[in-house]
Amino acid sequence: MNRRAFLGLTGAALAGGAFAGWTLLANGPQALLLSARDDAAGRHYAVGYRLDGSRLFATRVDERCHDVVAHPYLPMALFVGRRPSTQSYLIDTRDGRLLQTLESPAQRHFYGHAVFHKGGEWLYATENDTSDPGRGVLGVYRLDGERLQRTAELSSHGIGPHQLLWLPDGETLVVANGGIRTEADSRVEMNLEAMDSSLVLLRRDGRLLSQERLPQRQNSVRHLALADDGTLVSGQQYMGDPHDDAPLLAIKRPGQAFQPFPLGEAQRLAMNQYCASLAIHSELRLLALTAPRGNRFFVWDLDTAEVRLDVPLPDCAGVGAVAEGFVVSTGVGRCRHYDCRGARIQSQPLQLPAGLWDNHLRLA
């Protein structure tokens, strides 16, 4: 096909009103994208889509969810309630069947994040002890058949914990204690003048291994991403003056201290003091970040900190690594695929529904 014919065909396809794209040759199973999503009427769903746009499920749920945690080997995932929700939803990822509505106990609510232990039997979720608002706990849940049962609770060793991850050993938890107190049924900050945010490493039995802080008290450590070699990156939101110079990304390389990631001034300013989701591509050694207040999506070289991509993307939300690079969702527009293998990163819109995607996506 020559170029003119190709253009003509594409034009005709668009004129037909369909998003009639073309499909690259299939040579393997497609990634399953899991995310919380709303519809235009404000109803909440737990959804699973293939990246070609085909929908596996969209299961209506009562409360809005945030992150999704897939079981390490079973076809199920927990869609974790967005703070201050008291519900999370265990979903069969083959057909979207709701296996369990997981209720937090009295005086606890979810913070939107959880992790399954690699053995598949245990799940840990960050929670707020609303009897002592902001006191961070990790709810410990045991998977029994198709149900999660809360069996214990650990301290997060901080206030307002948000995301948590495993270090590569699969036994050490890393927790971002955001440092912000909020009460039950509320998202209003109570302690902006007395915030205490920290990055905590702890064993599965709750034993504290380390606790590190960034210099500015009002810099809230919230989101995390980890490379296969144990390099850990955190994304912050800064609650102080919009003009202050705060490290919005920080890094902890294996065996080293938690410290600011060398961020260019132009990128830092473009973020409007706010990081949302992070993802690391371990093979390509790339770090990706959505910065929805600045409406920008970034990719850096994880080792040299060189900026690889700095592009506008309104209300960008979840980001996850795929073989070629990253997939990014947004609250207001089309999801994008970024092919990061070449010298120049190429982006393409995906044929997924546009907008209303919540802050995190997971590829299973």
Partner: protein, 353 residues
């Protein structure tokens, strides 16, 4: 991480192959050519004149009164860009370089004086490396209008002129750079006309961003009026927190912003957002037209500068009525218009999740 290769379904990889019959594309393109590009061009021209005026005034060939008029034109051109603030000027901190507002702590005065103490022989290169607080129109206005500065005094004029000239040049260069990014072959204007492109996957994304920008500017106009009115401070008026209070250009700036917002709605030739509403939405169209007209007339009816209106009860009543009118206008866009057009203005709260 997914390791296996996967099938990737892409939207039409059209290289400039969109149909002009698509109403969303038509509106986006019409607004780019008929409203946004002309406004950015006018702003760049106003800043070119600002730089020339700074030099002429400091060179002794222009009177202070004339220099002030040139500033007011630049301030108005900038204020008119608020509802059009998408693309290059909305990114990378550039807008802060144009204006520093709100200035709750009078940082403009403090930083201007501090800068000139440290750099009495200030050069444009020095200014480029300085804080955004002193690079923009707010600092320029401070130099020309602040009651503590007397530019008729030769010594003071000599002291402040290097900064005046440098700000003019900084603004001219910034505006020329931004306009260049709008006019470039694959620049911002092209990205509002041909889809998909590096910025927008499809025309509805562009239309959505145009509406979001307009709605956020209407909210911004409310803040620019509400802050001095004391709407955020228990009703206590805060005249020095108004935009452009030193030059009494607060209300003129509001009017320029409102006029641009209305141009996004109407378009240059009735081909703006309103063209996306079919005849079944005539009622909404009429209410939007009416809301613009009401706000515009209330603003035009104000006979005194903002500072004076804030000082007495009758004035505050007029301003509160204007504020409420702006509120209705904003709500109509944010609610009914966005819903009718099927546009998601925002979704994620950006407050800690």
């Amino acid at each position: 991480m997914i390791r296996s290769p996967f099938t990737l379904a892409l939207l039409g990889l059209a290289l400039g192959a969109c149909t002009p019959a698509d109403p969303q594309q038509r509106v986006s393109a019409a607004l780019a050519d008929g409203v946004l590009l002309p406004a950015y061009s006018s702003w760049a021209e106003a800043d070119r004149q600002l730089a020339a005026s700074g030099q002429a005034f400091c060179g002794g060939t222009q009177e202070l009164g004339e220099a002030r008029q040139v500033f007011l034109a630049a301030q108005s051109a900038w204020a008119g860009l608020q509802p059009l603030l998408l693309g290059p000027l909305a990114e990378g901190n550039r807008a802060w370089q144009v204006q520093f507002w709100p200035d709750k702590k009078n940082l403009v005065a403090r930083q201007v004086e501090g800068l000139l103490r440290n750099k009495p022989q200030l050069t444009p290169a020095d200014l480029d490396k300085s804080s955004v607080v002193v690079q923009g129109l707010t600092a320029y206005e401070y130099l020309l209008f602040d009651p503590a500065i007397d530019l008729d005094d030769a010594a003071q004029k000599a002291r402040y002129c290097p900064l005046l000239v440098a700000i003019g040049q900084h603004q001219q260069a910034l505006a020329a750079d931004v306009l260049g990014q709008w006019q470039a072959e694959d620049g911002m204007a092209a990205q509002l006309k041909v889809f998909p492109n590096q910025r927008y996957a499809e025309a509805p994304e562009a239309v959505a961003e145009l509406l979001r920008t307009q709605v956020s500017a209407l909210d911004g106009l409310k803040k620019k009026l509400g802050t001095p009115l004391g709407r955020q401070s228990k009703g206590q008026p805060q005249p020095y927190q108004a935009e452009a209070w030193r030059s009494n250009a607060s209300l003129a700036s509001l009017a320029a912003g409102l006029a641009s917002a209305e141009r996004i709605w109407h378009g240059a030739e009735l081909d703006g957002m309103q063209a996306l509403l079919g005849s079944q939405h005539d009622d909404l169209k009429q209410r939007l037209d009416g809301a613009y007209s009401d706000t515009r007339q209330r603003l035009a009816a104000l006979q005194r500068p903002l500072g004076e209106l804030l000082a007495d009860e009758a004035g505050r009543q007029e301003l509160n009525a204007l504020y409420d009118s702006l509120g209705s206008l904003h709500r109509l866009h944010e609610g009914e218009l966005a819903k009718t057009l099927g546009i998601q203005l925002g979704f994620n709260a950006h407050d800690g999740d």
